[in-house]
Amino acid sequence: MLRVCWKGAHAAARQCVCGKVKAHPLQLCRRYSTAGDSGSTAGKIVAASLLTVGGGLGGTILYAKWDPKFRANVEKSVPYSDQLFEMALGPPPPPLVTLQKKPVRVIEPLQISSLSEASKESKQPKAKAKKSDPAPVEAPAAVEEAPAPTPQTLKEASAEAAHIISAIGEVPSVPAPGTSDESPPGHTAADEECKDHHEPVLKERPAEEVTARLAQQDKAEQDALAGLQVESLGSTAKTTLQAIGAQEAALTAIAAHTNKLKEAMDSQTPPDEKSSQWKALNEALSERTRAMEEAEEALLKAKGELENLSGVINSSKQSKINTARPQILAAEENLHSMIVDLDKVVTKVQTAQTEAKIVSQYSELVNEAKAQFQQELANITPEIQANWKRLSGKLSADDLNSLIAHAHRRIDQLNRELAEQRVREQIHIEVALEQQKLEDQKALERAVVSALEHSREDMRLEQEKKAQEVREVMEAEMRTQLRRQAAAHTDHLRDVLKVQEQELREEAQEILNSKMMEQETHYRRLTQEQLDTFTLDMNAAYARLKGIEEAIDSHVIAEEEARKAHQLWLSVEALNYTLKSAGADFPTEPLEGAVGVIKENCAGNEFAQALATAIPEESLSRGIYSEASLRARFFDIRRLARRVALIDETRNSLYQYFLSYLQSVLLFEREQVAPPAKLAPEDLDTFKLLAYANYSIERGDLELAAKFVNQLRGESQRVAQDWLKEARLTLETKQVISLLSAYANAVGLGTTQAP
């Protein structure tokens, strides 16, 4: 393969040399040569890099799985890593948030819920009573039936509470309690739960929240208290009234029953009405029992309600809401009166019951006698099995007689019993009296006890009333003092606020001033900057304009110079050209014209003028000989000079001429001898000089040859005189012309502008 490459390279080189430049085969060869051995190492490198990258990625993902903070960091720093992590690990775990505000928020719902609970509690027994009590109470019934299906929402509960309040309208609006920021919330029984919740979370709250909370608390308390009291009062009142009503109804029923029974016992009414009487009696009896049951139930309920109410009142007494005391007192009084009424009614009922018992006993006895009589009658008249009431018209004479006889016997028996009874009357009366005494005592004791209790209650109530009054007075005084303090506080606050306001105003004014100053300075600075930049720009533009103008001028000048230089150069070239016009033997054209042209062209150029004037007159007028002609002439000069080498001032006879000619013929020397760097005196020999000059002139160094020829003495000198002169002329002219041309070239170079 290498050989192929070499061949290719050679071919390419050849082609390059030939002129068809195609370096592709060479490049291909180069590429081939780099492949091969390096393949395995490249593979190893690639595999190693892939391993490290994969390892790094896997490690990162695993650590992110373990440490969510690291994951968050990486997701923040690397752009699309969150998507990668989501793909690999799933969504990030939710952040932990501390619950600070929840208990505070929960209290209000709790309060309301407690309110609803309280309303529920108070309403459920009512509902139960409602179910068993068909005696409807119109105004509360509608309200009670609504909550019977257990209200779910808080708004409904509060609306119901409001309904109750509006419906009953007993309790006036409770004024706001004393201003204490840290007063715990409502202390009604139902609020104890929220108290437990609330106390551990006592901390500073903003004033607005506090006042809102206070207002809410007050409202809640009011609502709760009012609701509870009102409800409980209302409920107990209702139940008590119901109980009283029931008791009275029972009383009336008992009275009616006993009356009816008495009437029925009288048995002076016609038999037709007896049955109806007995029916009515039964009805009355049933009614009485029913009424009794109802009364008992109502009594139980009322007692329960009263207990409840007393509990509520106790709990509300335990609360420190002072202004609710009159309500509490009133509630207590109501309770007391209800209890008293209830007791009275109960005693009435009891007496009625005892009466009724007696009457019923009597009626039982009578019924017994009647039953006995009936039995006897039935024994006597066995065929009459049915109820004898209906068979008043179907009795035969025998039956009647037997009946009458039986009746007479019965009467005798009863008379005897009566006599016995009269005898035992006293004993019975005594026994009964004793019994009665005992009962009376018991009743008395009971009455006394109840009277004591009542009086005690009354005393307590009076005491409480008095205490309440005193408290009210104290409260009023406290309020006035507090008001005074509040007034003082407000005055103080006003002063402080005034001072603060002043201070703040001054501060604000200062700040405003400083800001205004800042703004002004800033504005000034900006305007100044603008001006500066503008002037800078203007100056820059002006400078640029000036620069451009100067550049243009200099360009013009330069172009002028260039033109002049060009012309000079052209004229110099013309002069050079005229130099070439020299022929073999005749000189050039006179250089006058060309030089005149030069002089014209470089009229302002001193150097060129000087040079032009430095050209010798001869060359101007006559022209100069070319070097070739001079060279050719030199040969003649040399020959001649050699021939007259001996002739000088002293020897100049014809004989000398002959001798010198002979010398020149007989002297053998090299024609051309390289001249030394330094001329020694023995080099000043004619022949040597001529040899040097020949050498020089053969090498084209006319100047050196002229120098050597100048050293000739004697006749040789005279012979070479003209040639020398010509050579000098030529040299001078050539020198000047070369100077001129160099100068023209220099000027041309200087004025030419690079593209």
Partner: protein, 78 residues
């Protein structure tokens, strides 16, 4: 041309020599014939005279550059 000068001189010299020789010869012959009874000595004398004159002329001509010319100036004190 200075180099031509010598040649010219030599030409003149030769021409002069030839003329002088011829003239000398001629005069010599004439004199020999006329005066000296055709002796040869006047011819030779004349030729010799002629050649001599020519030689001298030639030499003078060739020497002419080196000859110092002087002039007498008389100072007269006034």
């Amino acid at each position: 041309m200075s180099e031509k000068e010598l040649g010219q001189k030599w030409d003149r010299c030769l021409a002069d020599c030839a003329v002088k020789f011829g003239t000398g010869l001629g005069l010599g012959i004439v004199f020999s014939v006329v005066f000296f009874k055709r002796r040869t000595w006047p011819i030779v004398f004349g030729t010799g005279l002629g050649l001599g004159m020519a030689y001298s002329n030639c030499q003078n001509d060739l020497r002419s550059r080196y000859v110092l010319h002087s002039k007498y100036f008389s100072f007269e004190q006034k």
